[in-house]
């Protein structure tokens, strides 16, 4: 049932870094998966498994060494600008411009990502209201607390109202309440019909949010499918046990 027309289509995607001291680093090896319209797809893996590298290739920040990936039918290597128009990318490493205000940041990304200029002010108002950042929307971002910055960062990701959202470990470093809030936002976006691809190393989070999960380990995808399907294949109930059993199988 995987088709090129799925919002996210990944086939044999590979990334090899060349590190001056370590030599070639095979961060991602021939992975493949698809995300279907309107689902939350989770990339589950430990630190160094290759999650960030995968998501960066899908958002065209990095070029794949081999293989293909398509976002809404656009090839990440051949039509990167179209891909970026259709994706919002959120990660702890995509920092905000410290000297701009929240409004200016949202406006900039709406405009440069191709959102209609005449509708941009309304879009900015909408996001400012949704994330409750009215009070500090006109303050320089470097004056904001980290909680406020995080809200602005999500609003920035959504600025051009993209159909696909990619979140790289969105809850990492957040306290429980903020993490719950982040999860609520993902659920809300899904309800709006967005396709969401997110990475995490937290089992409970994947278990709770994802329609389908891919387990990634040392650059390879060991298994993917719904939680039910993974349970059936391993006979384990908890995702933690499922995860471990796939890793042991691979070893």
């Amino acid at each position: 049932m995987t088709t090129v027309n799925d919002p996210v289509f990944v086939k044999d995607l590979t990334k090899t870094y060349y590190d001056e001291s370590r030599g070639p680093v095979h961060a991602v090896r021939q992975i493949g998966f698809t995300c279907r319209p309107g689902e939350i797809f989770g990339l589950l893996g430990a630190n160094g498994a290759g999650k960030t590298t995968t998501l960066r290739m899908l958002t065209t920040i990095l070029k794949p060494s081999a293989g293909t990936a398509k976002i809404m039918g656009y090839d990440v290597a051949e039509e990167p600008v179209e891909v970026r128009r259709h994706v919002g990318f959120y990660s702890a490493t995509t920092a905000l411009y410290p000297r701009l205000t929240a409004r200016e940041t949202i406006e900039f990304f709406a405009r440069i990502n191709g959102y209609d200029a005449s509708r941009t002010p309304a879009r900015v108002d909408e996001l400012v209201e949704r994330f409750g950042i009215e009070e500090y929307a006109r303050a320089r971002i470097d004056k904001l607390s980290s909680g406020m910055k995080q809200k602005v960062a999500i609003a920035r990701t959504l600025a051009h109202d993209p159909p696909i959202l990619v979140f790289d470990e969105p809850t990492v470093g957040l306290d429980v309440l903020n993490a719950l809030e982040m999860q609520a936002i993902l659920t809300e976006l899904k309800a709006q019909g967005k396709t969401i691809l997110f990475s995490t190393h937290i089992m409970s989070e994947a278990e709770k949010l994802c329609d389908r999960i891919a387990i990634i380990h040392e650059g390879r995808i060991l298994a993917s499918g719904t939680l039910e399907a993974l349970r059936e294949r391993t006979g384990a109930h908890y995702l933690e046990d499922i995860f471990v059993s796939f890793i042991q199988e691979a070893a």
Partner: protein
């Protein structure tokens, strides 16, 4: 390929942020407007100090010989300003002292053999390889000449020769530079160098901030998620850096054209009366073009260098040597007042534009060479921008994991055309 709307968006975003950064505003506006008098003053006093060292010293002169007849000449030498009489053990010791620089001049006076009673022979020993010795020589020569003229006048009067009838040659010294040219000459030396310094001061912070600074703040990745061709991001940033650099240069130039005379007055004292510090209005358009080209060159260069740095501080130390060269080389070249624009010099980046700048201030326009200069400078800028564009295609440089530096990049990637690693 280049999308002007997107380029404009990036440009405005950078500019808006920059105007909120105090250090950028200071470097772009305040330093060019108010800092240059300090630099100028330092340069001028430094220069006067060096000149003063050689010109205002007291010459050590030793006089020997039978001077009974002509004690008047000895007194005159002794009374000369900035001359002091010293003594040495003997003639040989004196000559050695001159060679060693302990003595500046040796004057030997002797009656002339077979001459009249009051004839006198003056033998002066100096070391012409030493500035002090040469200057001492000319001071003493002046005294001797004056003494002789006075004697001739007296003797002429005694023999009934009236006035200057015995003179054969009159020498009048005149500086052929008109006062206007002299002022322009000072302007032509100082102004281009100061403008370059200010262009660099104004462009440096933005250039490093927009490249290495973005990497340091982890906003590069954010910028790379923008749905536009990377060329537009580069163009927007470049336009921003060049605009601030140009602004700094123009402000500095305007400030200098308006206030140079007033500023130089206390330094030059009476001499200011003879100098004109006007820049011809007709030169202003060409000078603006020159300032813009210099800013475009400096901005592109600094951005390329800073692309290889991971932090602002790294970028500063990387750029340091290049900046020094970009200031020092033209500063040294501008020292030669006789240096004129030639076909060859028109091909040397920065120097060529500085020479056009200086000649424009002096009201000299060699249009074919000016055309060549502008063309060459545009060519150099284009080459640097091509390198900058090539850099953006290497993701390990963009993400800051490249170890090679600018030299390594040029050698291993740009010239060998290795396939992109990534």
């Amino acid at each position: 390929m280049l999308n002007l709307t997107d380029t404009g968006l990036v440009f405005l975003r950078e500019l808006r942020g920059a105007l909120r950064e105090r250090s950028i505003v200071i470097n772009v506006v305040l330093v060019p407007l108010f800092m240059y008098p300090v630099l100028l003053w330092l340069a001028y006093t430094g220069l006067s100090f060096v000149i003063g060292q050689t010109e205002n010293f007291t010459a050590r002169v030793m006089i020997v010989g039978d001077v009974g007849e002509d004690a008047a000449l000895v007194r005159e030498i002794q009374d000369t300003d900035r001359v002091e009489l010293v003594s040495a053990a003997d003639l040989e010791a004196a000559e050695e002292a001159i060679r060693d620089g302990r003595l500046d001049l040796l004057v030997e006076l002797a009656p002339r053999e077979g001459g009249d009673a009051d004839d006198i022979e003056v033998r002066i020993t100096s070391d012409s390889s030493k500035d002090r010795s040469r200057i001492a020589m000319s001071r003493v020569e002046d005294v001797v000449t004056r003494h002789r003229t006075a004697y001739l006048e007296r003797a002429g009067r005694e023999r009934g020769l009236a006035g200057p009838a015995y003179q054969m040659i009159w020498i009048e010294r005149e500086n052929v530079s008109s006062s206007r040219d002299m002022g322009r000459f000072i302007l032509g030396m100082a102004v281009p160098i100061l403008v370059i310094i200010m262009l660099i001061v104004g462009g440096m912070y933005p250039a490093l901030d927009a490249t290495a600074g973005e990497r340091e703040r982890s906003t590069w990745e954010t910028t790379l998620t923008a749905a536009t061709d990377r060329v537009n991001i580069l163009a927007g940033k470049y336009l921003y850096v060049a605009t601030l650099s140009t602004t700094a240069g123009m402000l500095n130039f305007l400030a200098m054209s308006l206030s140079m005379r007033t500023l130089m007055a206390p330094l030059l004292g009476d001499r200011i009366q003879d100098l004109s510090f006007t820049i011809p209005w007709s030169a202003v358009p060409l000078i603006f073009v020159v300032i813009m080209l210099l800013a475009l060159f400096v901005s592109a260069f600094l951005m390329v260098v800073a692309s290889f740095a991971r932090t602002f501080k790294d970028a500063q130390s990387l750029a340091g040597p290049f900046v020094t060269v970009m200031i020092l080389v033209p500063a040294v070249f501008m020292q030669f007042p006789g240096l004129e624009l030639t076909t060859w010099l028109a091909c040397v980046p920065i120097i060529n534009v500085c020479l056009v700048f200086r000649e424009a201030i002096g009201g000299v326009y060699q249009w074919p060479l000016i055309g060549l200069t502008l063309l060459m400078e545009v060519l150099y800028i284009w080459i640097i921008l091509r390198i900058a564009a090539a850099i953006t295609r290497y993701e390990d440089i963009m993400t800051g994991s490249y170890e090679g530096g600018l030299g390594g990049f040029l050698k291993h990637r740009l010239l060998r055309r290795n396939p992109s690693r990534g």
